[in-house]
């Protein structure tokens, strides 16, 4: 059985207890998307503010477990400053790490973008029921980017 230390890494607990970029952004200029996990009732709202093609600010609201909250916190940091294309590439890379095929990029291998702190979430893959928690914020961000693009 995989050990809990694979799941509850130091960095994850730190982001859980001290979440970065918590709060709301004004809409517009920001866009927002709501995500929820029907299994556990977790709810998350992701706000994204773009300057042209670049993500300048991300904010996270809502509540959830340590995995969904820390993943959202790390994501908000990792996304800030990226172009929307880079943001989507990182999204793809992250889902790839979570062993999830994503429909938009089904055949493409994920680019080798450095994941930094996000690597800490690798251990989640060994706990399949928690993968949904880890990707909740990411799927919600994808919705926000889609609605910004449309």
């Amino acid at each position: 059985m995989p050990g809990l230390e694979d799941l509850y890494r130091e960095i994850i607990l730190d982001h859980y207890k001290n979440p970065r970029n918590r709060g709301q952004l004004e809409v517009p200029p920001a866009v927002r998307a709501d995500g929820h996990n029907p299994l556990c009732g977790d709810e998350i709202t992701v706000f994204v503010e773009l300057d042209g093609d670049r993500v300048v600010r991300v904010a996270i609201d809502g509540q959830g477990c340590s995995i969904s909250q820390s993943s959202a916190s790390m994501m908000s940091q990792a996304m800030t400053g990226r172009t929307t294309d880079e943001a989507r590439a990182l999204l793809h890379r992250f889902k790839h790490m979570m062993s999830i095929a994503d429909h938009d990029h089904s055949d493409e291998p994920a680019e080798d973008i450095p994941l930094g702190d996000l690597e800490a979430l690798q251990g989640v893959v060994k706990f399949p029921v928690r993968i949904k928690c880890a990707v909740l914020a990411w799927n919600t961000l994808a919705q926000a980017l889609d609605s910004a693009a449309s």
């Binding site: 809990l4 607990l13 299994l39 556990c40 009732g41 709810e43 959830g64 477990c65 340590s66 928690r130």
Partner: protein
């Protein structure tokens, strides 16, 4: 009346008496979700399939007759178990959800009009909410809600107003989140006086104590085999004969008809008219064995065992964690069954259950299919430990040990 000897009883349950893994035995605290199965049930189903399996109701040969007897025998067994007036009042369904839907949809379409009132409570399972909401959308029935008191009991202060002019009262006998045992007989009496038909969601009560549907004075009730040691795939709708006679079947097909011509059909008598298609014969044999097992134990003893274990659990958890644990629902074990939903510090239930799993403690983390109630508790989710005949104080002690380590991991 001797108490249940859990150590001996566990030997009847293969999963619970299996060799420990990593030095830990399975601590199953999720019986409100679904119960474990004793050998008596597993073997009865296997034996039946090996030795006497055949079709129900359709053929003249002896194997078929024996299968029909087994199926009808199970119906009889269920009737006696809940003190129904006759086996013809027992309808086999897929599960309790199926039974609750059959009544809500079919009764509403046949007997309710726009503005007619159905009274539910804030502690209902989605299975006794959503079907009525569907009928609200389809027919325009009005839904009224019995609220809760602060300690998680039904607040009956305004019951007469709520029941005034109501056509149906549909309410749970015991909450699958709070553990609260509701005063079903009183509710049914008052609803009947107001002219309402009464449906009792008995999913959490039938497996855990004596049931007498006639003493309740109810019109219908629903429960599931899989929560009472029986197999999945089988539920029960009990209805008083005259109510079932007035309930149109929802699913048409084989078995449920009396005659079919090109220009129409006529239905088989109750309860067969509700059992279209090939029935759950093997499952019915399993449920029969489960009821035999429970009856041999004695349902009064089952209730006593769970009440005392609930008392132990509340006392032990409170002593160990004080204000760090909030157990929802009534604190008096006399008023509740063995369902303990709680908040532990500010840890998310998902994280708690993940850590408990390391100790092989199985609890449910989530909204328990009662989201309206969760909103009232102001929780997205809770941890729920639920007890049954095969749990003892040792299981609670392991729960406490595992919860302590959850606190450690998160640095509390």
């Amino acid at each position: 009346m001797a108490a249940i000897d859990v150590d001996a009883l566990i030997q009847d349950f293969p999963l619970l008496s299996a060799a420990p893994e990593d030095g830990r035995r399975l601590v199953y605290l999720d019986s409100a979700n679904t119960s474990q199965k004793p050998n008596a049930v597993i073997d009865a189903m296997g034996r039946f399939m090996r030795e006497s399996y055949g079709p129900i109701n359709r053929s003249a040969y002896r194997l078929a007759a024996a299968a029909t007897d087994a199926y009808e025998g199970a119906r009889n067994r269920v009737a006696r178990f809940i003190n129904a007036a006759s086996a013809d009042e027992i309808v086999f369904t897929r599960n309790a959800t199926d039974a609750l839907n059959l009544f809500a949809q079919s009764w509403s379409r046949a007997h309710l009009r726009r503005g007619d009132v159905v009274v539910l409570s804030h502690m209902e399972h989605h299975a006794n909410i959503v079907p009525w909401q569907m009928m609200h959308d389809e027919i325009g029935i009005e839904l009224r809600w019995i609220p809760l008191t602060d300690d998680g009991q039904l607040d009956l202060a305004n019951l007469d107003d709520l029941l005034d002019g109501a056509s149906v009262l549909a309410v749970t006998a015991m909450s699958n989140v709070l553990g609260t045992i509701n005063p079903v007989a009183e509710l049914c009496t008052r609803a009947r006086a107001a002219g309402a038909v009464t449906m009792v969601d008995a999913c959490q009560s039938v497996p855990h104590g004596p049931t007498d549907v006639q003493a309740w004075g109810a019109d219908l009730c629903a429960f599931s085999s899989h929560k009472m040691l029986g197999p999945t795939g089988l539920g029960v709708l009990w209805g008083r004969a005259e109510i079932l006679e007035a309930l149109p079947p929802m699913i048409g097909g084989g078995n449920m008809i009396d005659d079919v011509r090109l220009d129409g059909y006529s239905c088989a008598p109750v309860p067969t008219r509700f059992e279209a298609g090939t029935g759950q014969l093997v499952e019915a044999v399993g449920l029969n064995a489960a009821i035999d097992y429970l009856d041999t134990l004695g349902m009064d003893r089952v209730r006593d065992h769970e009440r005392e274990l609930t008392r132990y659990a509340i006392d032990t958890l409170t002593a160990a964690f004080g204000d760090d644990i909030t157990i929802h629902g009534p604190s008096d074990p006399e008023l509740r069954g063995g369902v303990l939903s709680f908040a532990f510090r500010d840890l998310h239930p998902h994280d708690v259950s993940q850590i408990l799993d390391e100790y092989r403690v199985c609890v449910r983390a989530g909204h328990h299919c009662a989201k309206p109630l969760m909103r009232i508790l102001e929780a997205n989710a809770t941890v729920r430990a639920s007890l049954y005949i095969y749990n003892g104080p040792d299981d609670i002690d392991v729960l406490v040990e595992a919860l302590s380590s959850a606190g450690d991991i998160f640095g509390f």
